[in-house]
């Protein structure tokens, strides 16, 4: 700890930081633009000037940029010095010279960092009367609007997009006052993290296009802390609602999970909530004709099912409360996880490994600290995108190490990058097709899962001879040794695997981690990716073997004639024929869901539930972290939270249900820790979901009735559906939206952090449920996938897409614009031997399913990767080895929107 003096007051600071970081950490207001807590300093904007004095006797001092000056012990600075203040006002005046006069028609207005900083430095009148520089805008795809005139050239966009997120198609162009930030030509921004530009840009150059289509000012949105339901990472979000529809999602800071950034699926994939496909009323369907049901009739249906024996099928996209309520209703032995057998095996193994003391499941922040990474058979960018962004930071640990050796502070971003050039920490990717992380990978192995598993086992045995031995192909032997050496010499190695490669690959990953652990005597980071937001929670609730196949088999045996399906489209989880046959066999199928699916179409009783923003719920992410997501808006239809339909007790609240789940369900002890401590609230008052500037209260519904309705009362949570109450200024985990006096943008989060870019003041958010068990298991035995019997067919792997593979986000119009049709990736040699060209349409095996041929130069001969679209192809009906037959050339479907690095150009 060092001591510095700011405006005559002494503060204890961390000498590893710069002055700007420390000023903000101490809660002081100092304007800045180009510095970002995650991206370090470059000193481009000159806005954070402060006066630094050499010693106590020095009265003259010198202006320094706070972001470029270390917080050395004994430093004496002044923010309020008149010369520093004047300098800052002049800097912002010059930045604003060409700023267009368009705040009223700017989506950033009201949450604009530039507005805040301009106010803070006191500039209010444009004295410069010469012409303003203008720029043409570009079309940047369905997510982002471009308005280049507003730019103040802080370079944050390219520093995020290129340097932080590894994008290649956004650059700084031209020079001096002509500097332009855009693509080399108009087109879709390719990065999966482009949405963060909206928050990174301190002004309105990059704005949220989806939000703009139904725009509201930040102060007019009803907001509450929520959790993204797009994948198993469980990023923290703040959705905003106005006039009954969900308008946008912005990032909510959580130091352990998503930090400052979200992926585009999470940010733009929420519009299924507003979709016309929502189920709005309960129906009883008899012979194709449906009749509405009252709430009481629905309750009686469930009461009847409680007394009769019924099968309950839970869902990895439903909350813990809903799944638990279903389990209570049907009984533990009749509760099945609505996941395919293969995925359920992976989830069970996932939970088992997470409880093993030999392994540590790292949080996203811990992933960023890894200095050697091995990815086993998982396409991280498309399955858990936020983790891919973290991995891009992990490879920079080499640069940080080099910088530390040269005594360069970590926040000196340009210097650290310059020093390291392109030297990265090792990252090895084993994947059936080239992934979006290959540009930072030190090694890539692209082959069938059978071969990849073999390589993985070989790496384990190369690290620890005790591990089951495997013989990789001769040309891979060197790679195996190299990767093993990299992992062994790393300070913090990380193994990543997921369910894409199946349980076999997970066991191989566990063996490698176990082998490393043997030489380290401390838990090894093993990151296992689950597929969906609550896959882990559902896996903890369902008994072993209680997967969807088992449920379907039980129905097919005719053992049970009634079933309840909870927020789950069974046709996504098992072979279509088997699901249809089982449903035909049922006498009564009750489906509780919020959106129309193939399963809801087959329901006898259809019960509407609420979507993620319309109820309070807990979800468990890949690391076993339970997180609470508050209700944002009310659902104006018959829909109720699924748990409320399923629970027969009428006086149930989420809080009681969470308590009960924690007490009764195995493994859920500690879940109640996610509930807010209401004793801390000021005068027992609620926390408002609406800002103190919320407008239109007496007019928004006046067209219906001039007598305003009473504000809705929230009986579930400590938050209010109104402006009433006191927003917590300390606890950002239960805050409508981050806001502090003078700080209207999302940058205000620094006021809620104990230290900038550190934990929130109230500490880490969420409860880690997967407790370590005493005994650690041994190595898994050698169970390689069966080698192909013949070389005739192509070894099939399933490919995922960030836009499309998730059932719910795929309903959002903006996401749909970025989705591609089903495609099958082949190597050039395989395509040539089959007479296939880029863009041809082929039938897969003997099925009716067709896909577009995508020839990729880095595919391994004899393998194919199939993307099934939004369940357009039934992946469970396909054999592991397929042959293709050409059905025609289809240029219309093509591979529009597909972004791969190794598209084979020849003959296209």
């Amino acid at each position: 700890m060092a001591k510095i003096v700011i405006d005559g007051k002494t503060y204890e600071v961390n000498p590893a930081n710069n002055l700007l970081q420390e000023c903000l950490s101490q809660g002081l207001d100092l304007p800045y633009f180009c510095w970002h807590p995650c991206m370090g300093s470059v000193g481009a904007c000159r806005q954070c000037a402060v006066k630094q004095f050499r010693n106590a006797e020095d009265t003259k001092g010198a202006l320094v940029m706070a972001c470029m000056t270390p917080a050395n012990d004994g430093a004496i600075i002044s923010i309020e010095d008149p010369q520093a203040q004047k300098f800052r006002a002049q800097v912002i005046e010059s930045l604003m010279i060409s700023h267009p006069h368009d705040c009223p028609v700017c989506e950033e207005g009201g949450e604009c960092h530039l507005q805040d900083m301009t106010q803070m430095s006191g500039h209010n009148y444009r004295r410069y009367d010469k012409k303003k520089v203008t720029h043409n805008n570009q079309y940047l795809g369905p997510f982002i609007n471009h308005e280049m005139n507003r730019c103040i050239t802080c370079y944050r966009c390219v520093r995020f997009y290129d340097d932080y997120a590894g994008g290649t198609d956004l650059s700084a162009q031209a020079s001096h006052h002509h500097v332009y930030f855009g693509r080399h030509e108009e087109g879709v921004l390719e990065s999966e993290f482009s949405g963060n530009l909206v928050e990174v840009c301190p002004t309105g150059v990059f704005t949220d296009k989806v939000f703009s289509e139904h725009y509201s000012r930040k102060w007019d949105l009803q907001t509450a802390p929520s959790v993204c339901v797009g994948c198993a990472v469980g990023c923290n979000t703040t959705p905003g609602e106005r006039y009954g529809s969900l308008r946008r999602i912005v990032n909510r800071y959580n130091s352990e999970v998503n930090g400052y950034f979200l992926c585009d699926r999470g940010r733009f994939g929420f519009e299924f909530v507003n979709s016309d496909e929502r189920i709005r009323e309960a129906q009883h369907v008899v012979n194709g004709s449906s009749s509405p049901l009252t709430d009481a009739q629905v309750k009686s249906v469930f009461a009847e099912l409680k007394s009769a024996q019924a099968i309950g099928i839970g869902s990895p996209r439903a909350s813990n409360e809903a799944n638990y309520a279903l389990r209570c209703l049907v009984g533990e032995e009749n509760f099945y996880a609505g996941m395919s057998a293969a995925e359920f095996d992976c989830v069970q193994l996932h939970i088992q490994l997470a409880r093993d003391p030999a392994f540590h499941i790292p949080s996203v922040r811990e992933i960023e600290q890894a200095d050697a990474v091995l990815i086993l058979g998982e396409d991280v960018t498309n399955v858990a995108p936020r983790i891919a962004l973290a991995l891009r930071q992990s490879v920079r640990n080499k640069a940080k190490e080099l910088a530390a050796a040269c005594k360069i502070p970590q926040w000196q971003d340009a210097a650290v990058r310059e020093l390291a050039q392109r030297q990265n920490s090792p990252l090895c990717v084993l994947s059936p097709y080239a992934t979006r992380l290959d540009d930072i990978a030190s090694d890539c192995v692209i082959d069938s899962y059978a071969v990849l598993t073999n390589v993985a086992y070989a790496i384990a045995s190369a690290i620890a001879p005790a591990a089951p031995e495997a013989k990789p192909a001769r040309e891979r032997a060197e790679l195996v040794q190299r990767v093993a050496a990299q992992l062994l010499s790393a300070r913090r190695p990380l193994i990543i695997a997921g369910s894409s490669g199946g349980a076999v690959m997970l066991r191989a990953a566990a063996n490698i981690a176990k082998a490393l652990q043997g030489s380290r005597h401390s838990p090894v980071d093993l990151c296992i990716l689950a597929q969906e937001v609550n896959s882990v929670g559902l896996g903890m609730l369902a008994g072993s073997g209680q997967n969807l196949s088992a449920a379907l088999a039980r129905i097919a045996r005719g053992a049970e004639s009634r079933a309840i399906v909870l927020e789950n489209d069974l046709f996504l989880r098992a072979e279509h024929g088997a699901v249809a046959a089982a449903i035909d066999k049922l006498e009564q199928l009750v489906v509780v869901d919020h959106i129309a699916t193939a399963t809801t179409q087959r329901a006898d009783y259809l019960v509407p539930s609420t979507a993620f923003s319309e109820h309070e719920a807990t979800y468990i992410n890949y690391e076993g972290r339970a997180q609470l997501s508050y209700q944002v808006n009310r659902c104006h239809s018959q829909a109720q939270p699924a748990w409320r339909w399923l629970h027969t007790q009428s006086d149930m609240h989420v809080a009681n249900l969470v308590d009960r789940c924690a007490a009764e369900a195995a493994g859920f002890a500690g879940l109640q820790a996610v509930l807010p401590d209401t004793s801390q609230f000021i005068a027992g008052m609620k926390i408002p979901r609406q800002s103190h500037r919320y407008s239109g209260r007496t007019a928004m519904k006046a067209n219906l009735n001039v007598h305003e309705p009473k504000q809705a009362v929230d009986t579930e949570s400590p938050m209010a559906f109104s402006m009433e109450g006191i927003p917590s200024q300390k606890n950002a985990s239960i805050l409508g939206a981050a806001w502090a006096p003078q700080w209207n943008s999302n940058q205000s989060i620094s006021k809620f952090q104990a230290e900038v870019n550190g934990e929130l003041k109230q500490g880490s958010v969420g409860a880690l449920l997967l407790q370590k068990q005493a005994a650690s298991g041994g190595f898994f035995s050698h169970d390689l996938l069966a080698r192909p019997a013949s070389n005739d067919g192509l070894q099939l792997a399933i490919a995922y897409q960030i836009f499309g593979s998730d059932e719910l986000s795929a309903r959002s119009p903006a996401i749909r614009e970025r989705m591609t049709a089903p495609y099958i990736s082949l190597s050039p040699a395989d395509a040539r031997s089959r007479g296939l060209a880029q863009g041809d349409e082929v039938a897969i095996a003997d099925t009716k399913f067709t896909a577009t041929v995508c020839i990729r130069s880095r595919m391994q001969d004899g393998t194919a990767a199939l993307y099934c679209g939004a369940n357009e192809i039934d992946q469970f009906s396909l054999p592991t080895q397929v042959e293709l037959s050409k059905t025609g050339f289809n240029s219309a479907r093509g591979m529009r929107g597909l972004i791969v690095s190794d598209l084979h150009e020849e003959g296209y």
Binding site: H99, P100, H101, D102, C103, P104, V105, C106, G109, G110, D129, K130, K131, K132, V133, T134, H135, N136, N137, E147, N149, R150, Q173, A174, H176, H178, Y180, G182, S212, E213, H214, Y215, S216, R217, W219, D220, Y243, R693, Y694, S695, G696, R697, T698, A699, M700, A702, N703, N705, V706, H707
Partner: protein
């Protein structure tokens, strides 16, 4: 000695009472007469009140009455749905929703004022960056049914510029709309050619 002083004091007090009584009587009397005279004379003064509604009073242009939405000199809606009026409104009686025309102009999809809540404070007019929302000297807004005091955009939008005749937001703002591209607003240079190497 003491006795003499007391007698003198008593005499002095009697004189004081007499003096006060006398002046009071004098003042009251003259005041009464004066008032009677003034009231009488007022009968011959020109009346300040007017025979409303037969006779309409002159309303000053900046009087804060019925709110309107105006159009710019080209006849287009001035409101850009920035929401600042709604934010400034102390009784929260303005609600609107932003939409965008194909030309790129922002406009309110609906714009509603609940006049039964409005206190005619004029904050909305002060907040308006485009001179769209203006208060007019019209005050005759009474209704028998309260619901009729909810005015929609169709009721609020007039066909003129209101009090401010020349201002057109899009001529000043940098945002491009159909017919006014980048660099064509007031005080703007033509768009930069990023591929040029010239200074």
């Amino acid at each position: 000695m003491m006795q003499k002083k007391a007698i003198q004091g008593k005499k002095h007090a009697t004189n004081l009472v007499e003096t006060i009584m006398l002046s009071l009587f004098k003042d009251t009397f003259t005041s009464q007469v004066k008032t009677l005279y003034q009231v009488f004379m007022h009968a011959f003064v020109k009346a300040d009140t007017v025979e409303y509604p037969e006779e309409q009073p002159y309303m000053f242009p900046r009087w804060r009455g019925r709110i309107i939405l105006s159009r710019d000199p080209d006849g287009e809606e001035r409101c850009v749905a920035c929401n600042l009026c709604a934010c400034a409104c102390p009784v929260d009686c303005i609600a609107l929703q932003k939409a965008e025309t194909e030309d790129g102009r922002w406009y309110p999809e609906f714009f509603r004022i609940n006049f039964s809540r409005c206190i005619m404070c004029g904050f909305c007019e002060e907040a308006c960056p485009t001179n769209a929302i203006q208060l007019t000297p019209d005050f005759e807004m009474a209704e028998y049914i309260r619901q009729d005091m909810v005015w929609e955009k169709e009721d609020l939008l007039i066909n003129g510029t209101g009090k401010y005749h020349d201002y057109n937001f899009y001529r000043v703002a940098g945002m491009a709309i159909k017919g006014k591209g980048k660099g064509m607003a007031q005080n703007e240079a033509p768009p930069v050619n990023v591929k040029s190497l010239l200074p």
